[in-house]
């Protein structure tokens, strides 16, 4: 199949994806996500829609860089202070811990691990990504404050790698979330990962790492791709 055909196929799929979700053979709404009624203290009935009420259902906005010297300075700061979310998605996550050891020592590049997405600006997708994990990755990615960067680690994130024919593992990560840096290999060594960081820093300093904005710009398309394979979508469209 040629690239063109694939793209056609993709757009066709996109058109049907909303319908796909709805036409699914099963109803995937979990009991706890169904609408329910609770009794208020004064006796009135309140209807609760768990899929909607608890979340801020707003779409992301594109945050334009300020430009100029300020932006350059800030980009430098961002590049020198890459806070990586400690979230291992696949087998590649075993390659991350060596980075904090004396041999590789990522701290000297200003790279640190952070435990919460709110405080991180880089996300390493470490290896194969099953649909189930993708859901969590999306939520986590969206919760990170912009600007944010994604490093895709290993060939699985590029074309599915050895899981290209798996029923539960995605093939191309960039169809679901935007990727700044790919690090090829199965698995890439920590050195490669460090190289990825250096590359990322370079991109940030050049002002080219604006994938968060791209995500916001093409939000509908990404969302349609995501929803197509995540059939029991029980999150808001954008996770703030």
């Amino acid at each position: 199949m040629s690239e063109l055909d694939l793209n056609n196929k993709t757009s066709e799929m996109l058109a049907n994806s909303e319908a796909n979700v709805k036409n699914s053979k099963k109803n995937f709404t979990r009991p706890e996500d169904e609408k329910r009624e609770v009794v208020a203290p004064d006796g009135s009935i309140i209807e609760v829609n768990p899929l909607y009420d608890y979340f801020s259902n707003e779409k992301p906005k594109e945050e334009k860089p300020r430009g100029g010297v300020v932006e350059k300075f800030l980009n430098w700061a961002r590049a020198e202070s890459i806070w990586v979310l400690g979230f291992g998605t696949g087998c590649g996550s075993i390659e991350i811990p060596p980075l904090v050891t004396p041999r590789f020592d990522m701290f000297r590049y200003g790279v640190q691990m952070r435990p919460t997405p709110r405080q991180s600006n880089a996300f390493i997708i470490s290896g194969y990504l099953s649909v189930k994990t993708l859901k969590r990755v999306i939520r986590t990615y969206e919760q990170m404050p912009s600007p944010k960067y994604i490093l895709a680690l290993g060939s699985c994130t590029i074309n599915g790698g050895m899981y290209y024919d798996s029923y539960s593992t995605i093939n191309r990560l960039d169809k679901y979330i935007p990727v700044d840096v790919y690090i090829a290999g199965c698995m890439p060594r920590p050195e490669a990962l460090l190289h990825g960081f250096v590359k990322l820093k370079q991109l940030i300093k050049e002002g080219k790492a604006e994938k968060a904005n791209e995500y916001a710009r093409n939000f509908d398309e990404y969302k349609a791709n995501q929803k197509k394979i995540i059939k029991d979508w029980n999150m808001p469209d954008y996770n703030w």
């Binding site: 208020a40 203290p41 009135s44 609760v48 768990p50 608890y54 801020s56 709110r118 969590r136 986590t140």
Partner: protein, 1043 residues
């Protein structure tokens, strides 16, 4: 003037007439009976009024025209007139009450009833001892017959036992009489007194026989099983008559015959009385059957009367007054209770919840119970006061202890019963019918109690009208109880405002009293404003609230110890009713009442000791206690500490405050507890005014305060119920206050007083806010709330300010207290206590954070999505109080300087030096307003900066949190609230073992077990009862005559 012989003649004549006229029907004969009794009552009243208001002299009636000893003579004196009036009045009311019962049993029953009354009358009046015997037998036989008014084997058994017992007793009496006659040659009482019977050789035995028989008629413990059966088994109306009339008559007979026995008997009469009072009240606590419980109470009261009688030499002129107070309260209250028990017809105590279906019955019942226990304004209050004062003055401390212990036991079972009536489950119970002729007597005795209370009070300092003005206001509100809340609330507030205005000139210049009066009155008004938030009539709330405030203001205004105690008891009664209004507050109300009564008795004893060696009852006698002052101050402080809930005496508080209504909690926490503090302050002024020589007491009090602070705050951390948390917090805060006061230095008192004011302000804010929130969300449990800041921001701000102030974090006012405290601690040298205090303060952060976090922050629960901001009527007082807090924080010198000046009266050394707004102590300095400004400026700068830099922030909702890539399922599972301080609990559980509760549980169990074991004496076998009588006689013989 109708001669008293006509009492007998009327009864006999009517009796015969009924025999003739019974063909006119039973209603007619019933009417005739009532008419006869009315006439008898009239005769007694005529004589009584002649004695009371005229200058009538006692008059002898000589039957058959001979002089004694040849004939029988009756005496109509002042007391006789009064007692016959009581008997006949009781007979009249009883006759009305039992009209139908008597009618159904036929005219014979009516005749027997008349004869019984006649017998009792003659027993009172006669001066001939054999005549006395005859009429005692007559009335016994009549009573034994009338027991059968009630059908069933129970009453039959009771009647038979009664007749067996009285026969034995009368046998002894007869033997005694004949010996007395043998030795003196006369049957006339006056003659026997002249002959000095007990002085004659062998006469002592005769006296013993007579005395013991008459004492046995009064049903002394434990030879009184037959009496209990009589009370339990007979018709309720008749039990009332027996309790009121027959017991009164027997008591009078005893007082009459005592003259022949001579003073050596007085001690033993008192002893028997004390044993009876304590024993039967102790056994009463195990009772589940109402009538039997009332029987125990009746017997107990008779024991108390016997005790008083035995002290009549010592009490002197006060004896009639005391006897009158106790007797009249017992007479009316017990009759009323028996009558109510006949209307309600519930055997078990729990069934009395049905009484709530007719709320005015609750009022009646409350009146009788409070009168029995001895609460103001009832006569027994004044009588008990005088009794204790006199006994203490004469050094009879052991007797006082017995009296107070017995009264305490009585309070236990009566209030438990009352609690069931007020709060028990009553939905499944069948409503009861009211017959008009049954309710009239009850109302009459109830009103009579109030009238008598007023009458009794006239002989004391409390008699002044001013002390009855608040009570009259209470009465007014009671009468207006049908009006809607809005009107009543306005009336109550207006009344309190007017009273405050009226009272202000009296207190001007007395800063100490002004502070407390301000807390009570202003706090009361603010708390009442919150009452506008309630709908409906809120029946019964306003009278009791005003009653409490009346008591509170009473203790402030008290010029004498009696007035103080009067106010104290009024306050206790009012607050009891307020507390018990809460939904689940029955057990807590009971424990509150019991601790309060215990405290009040300690107070009574303390005031009694204070009175020793002093001529006046003025309040300043406690400044100069001469007799065992350590004990006196100890008792006084212990009494006050029950109200401040010091550790050991605190177990009533969490439940009482936690379960009370939303606007009641601030009343009982922020305001009521200060009454205890006021008391402690008074006692400490007494201790330290001249020179502080009670350092050990103060030292112990200091440790107690520190431990209270620690325990209260620690327990607050582990509460799940928001209001209980605040209640425990109150315990802790009161611990601070007590600790501060106990230091007995200028700074310590300044710190204590600053806490008094602060605690009033912020605890009122917190309780009002949390109470209002509870009203909105319908639960006390903090883990069922959460995220309410989104729904009620104003409430949140109020709580936040409240907790910052409470925690003592600068710049709000709580820091004032802390700063003063550390300085005081350093000055006094109580370092370890100070550290414990400090640790308590740090513990406070935990529960305060928990309070605000679990209620207002965290996850909003689904069912609270639409709750509204708390009621505006709550917000008004809350923000008024917050304004007070803010003023205090901004200008602490405005409050602390007058406080310092006031305290300087008592502790002139070590004052703070004020340099503008800066307070300078020996150890450091602190300028409240400057600190506030500095922090405020910094805060605003940072805030504005942050606001500018995050002006585009996106507002997210409650589940937009990082959740490890997942999303929360429900607010309930995402809210960290339940058992939040688990880690701390694991480390500190040792300190949370409820030692105090265990201790009081043990005490309760021991009492219950003792009662349960002892009452097995009353096996229900008539023969056993006779055996008891014989043993009683033998043992008393051995004790008195000495073998």
């Amino acid at each position: 003037m109708v001669t008293p012989i006509f009492i007998v003649a009327t009864a006999l004549g009517a009796g015969f007439a009924i025999g003739v006229l019974n063909k006119f029907g039973k209603n007619f004969t019933g009417g005739l009976v009532l008419a006869a009794i009315t006439f008898m009552t009239f005769i007694s009243y005529q004589w009584f009024s002649a004695f009371q208001f005229g200058d009538q002299t006692p008059e002898y009636v000589y039957t058959a025209g001979f002089m004694p000893p040849l004939s029988i003579n009756l005496l109509m004196g002042h007391y006789e007139a009064f007692v016959t009036l009581l008997i006949n009045f009781a007979g009249l009311l009883g006759g009305i009450y039992m009209f139908n019962s008597l009618k159904n049993r036929g005219s014979n029953a009516q005749v027997v009833y008349l004869i019984m009354l006649m017998g009792l009358n003659v027993m009172v009046m006669t001066r001939d001892i054999f005549n006395l015997f005859v009429f005692m037998e007559v009335s016994s036989i009549a009573i034994a017959g009338l027991i059968l008014l009630e059908k069933g084997t129970r009453s039959m058994g009771a009647g038979f036992k009664y007749i067996l017992a009285t026969s034995i007793i009368s046998g002894f009496l007869l033997i005694g009489i004949i010996f007395a006659y043998y030795f003196t040659g006369t049957l006339n009482l006056d003659g026997m007194i002249d002959a000095n019977l007990s002085g004659i050789k062998g006469g002592a035995v005769a006296v013993f026989m007579i005395m013991i028989a008459i004492i046995l008629e009064l049903k002394p413990f434990p030879a009184n099983g037959w009496g209990l059966d009589l009370y339990e088994g007979s018709n309720a109306g008749f039990s009332a008559v027996v309790s009121a009339a027959s017991a009164t008559a027997s008591f009078f007979v005893l007082s009459k015959v005592m003259d022949i026995a001579g003073p050596e008997w007085y001690y033993y009469i008192s002893l028997i009385g004390a044993v009876t009072f304590v024993g039967s009240n102790l056994l009463g606590i195990k009772q589940e059957n109402t009538r039997r419980m009332l029987g125990y109470s009746s017997i107990g009261q008779l024991g108390l009367l016997m005790l008083i009688l035995g002290f009549r030499d010592i009490l002197g002129d006060q004896t009639p007054y005391i006897v009158f107070g106790i007797l009249i309260s017992h007479y009316m209250a017990k009759a009323g209770l028996f009558w109510i028990s006949g209307i309600v017809k519930s055997k078990g105590l729990k069934g009395w919840a049905v009484i709530r279906k007719k709320p005015f019955f609750l009022f009646l019942m409350g009146t009788f119970i409070f009168a029995l226990i001895g609460f103001p304004p009832f006569p027994s209050f004044f009588a008990k006061w005088t009794l204790v004062m006199e006994l203490v003055k004469t050094g009879n401390m052991a007797w006082v202890v017995a009296i107070l212990f017995g009264s305490m036991m009585e309070a236990v079972y009566l209030f438990r019963w009352f609690g069931y009536a007020i709060k028990g489950e009553n939905e499944h119970l069948e409503d009861f019918k009211i017959e008009i002729h049954k309710i009239v007597p009850v109302w009459m005795v109830a009103i009579g109690l109030y009238v008598m209370g007023y009458f009794t009070a006239q002989f004391t300092e409390v008699g002044a009208e001013i002390n009855f003005i608040p009570l009259a206001f209470v009465g007014l509100l009671l009468a207006l109880d049908f009006l809607p809340v809005f009107v009543k609330n306005t009336i109550a507030i207006a009344g309190m405002l007017a009273y405050s205005y009226f009272i202000y000139p009296d207190l001007e210049g007395d800063t100490l009293r002004l502070i407390f009066e301000g807390i009570f009155m202003l706090g009361g008004i603010l708390a009442l404003i919150a009452g506008y938030a309630y709908k409906g009539t809120r029946a019964g709330f306003y009278p009791v609230a005003i009653l409490m405030y009346a008591g509170l203001t009473g203790i402030i205004e008290a010029k004498t110890t009696l007035e103080f105690f009067y106010g104290w008891e009024l306050m206790t009664a009012g607050s009891y009713f307020l507390i018990i209004r809460g939904k689940r507050s029955m057990p807590h109300g009971l424990s509150y009442m019991l601790f309060s009564i215990g405290g009040a008795y300690a107070l009574l004893a303390g005031l009694g000791i204070a009175h020793v060696g002093q001529d006046s009852f003025a309040m300043d006698i406690i400044n100069n206690i001469q007799y065992i002052p350590y004990w006196a101050y100890g008792l006084l402080i212990a009494g006050f500490l029950t109200k401040t809930a010091a550790v050991g005496l605190h177990i009533w508080l969490p439940g009482a405050h936690g379960e009370a209504e939303s606007d009641v909690s601030p009343m009982v926490s922020a305001i009521l507890l200060k009454a205890g503090v006021f008391g402690v302050v008074l006692a400490l002024i007494g201790m330290g005014a001249e020179n502080n020589q009670y350092t050990e007491l103060a030292y112990a009090l200091g440790w107690l305060g520190a431990i209270t602070a620690f325990v209260g705050n620690l327990m607050a951390i582990f509460q799940e119920d928001a209001k209980r948390l605040l209640a425990y917090s109150s315990i802790g805060q009161l611990g601070y206050i007590v600790f501060g006061l106990a230091m007995m230095t200028h700074l310590g008192w300044l710190a204590g007083f600053s806490y008094v004011i602060n605690h009033f302000l912020y605890k009122a804010v917190l309780f009002l806010t949390i109470g209002a929130v509870v009203m909105r969300v319908g639960t006390h449990n903090m883990y069922e709330m959460g995220g309410l800041i989104k729904r009620m921001p104003l409430a949140f701000v109020a709580v936040m300010i409240g907790i910052i102030a409470l925690s003592g974090v600068p710049p709000l006012s709580g820091f004032t207290g802390k700063w003063l405290f550390y300085n005081a601690v350093l000055e006094k040298g109580w370092y370890l206590q100070g550290a414990l205090f400090s640790f308590s303060g740090i513990l406070a952060f935990m529960y305060l954070w928990r309070l605000i976090h679990t209620v207002f922050l965290g996850q909003l629960k689904d069912n609270h999505r639409n709750v509204k901001e708390i009621s505006i009527w709550f917000l008004i007082p809350i923000y008024t109080l917050i304004a007070g807090l803010m003023v205090y924080a901004a200008k602490p010198e405005w409050i602390l300087q007058p406080l310092g000046n006031m305290i300087a009266q008592f502790f002139p050394d070590g004052q703070l030096i004020w340099d503008g707004g800066t307070a300078i102590s020996k150890y450091g300095q602190w300028s409240g307003s400057l600190i506030g400004m500095t922090i405020g400026a910094t805060f605003m700068t940072v805030l504005i900066w942050l606001m500018l830099s995050t002006r585009k922030a996106h507002k997210v909702k409650q589940f937009d949190i990082t959740y490890s890539g997942e999303r929360p399922e429900r607010p309930e599972t995402t809210h960290v609230a339940y058992n939040a301080f688990e880690g701390l609990y694991k480390a500190m559980w040792v300190a949370t073992i409820p030692l105090v509760e265990t201790f009081w549980d043990r005490v309760t169990n021991i009492l219950h077990d003792t009662a349960g074991f002892t009452r097995r004496l009353y096996s229900g076998n008539g023969q056993a009862y006779m055996l008891h009588i014989v043993f009683f006689i033998l043992i008393t013989y051995l004790v008195i005559i000495g073998g």
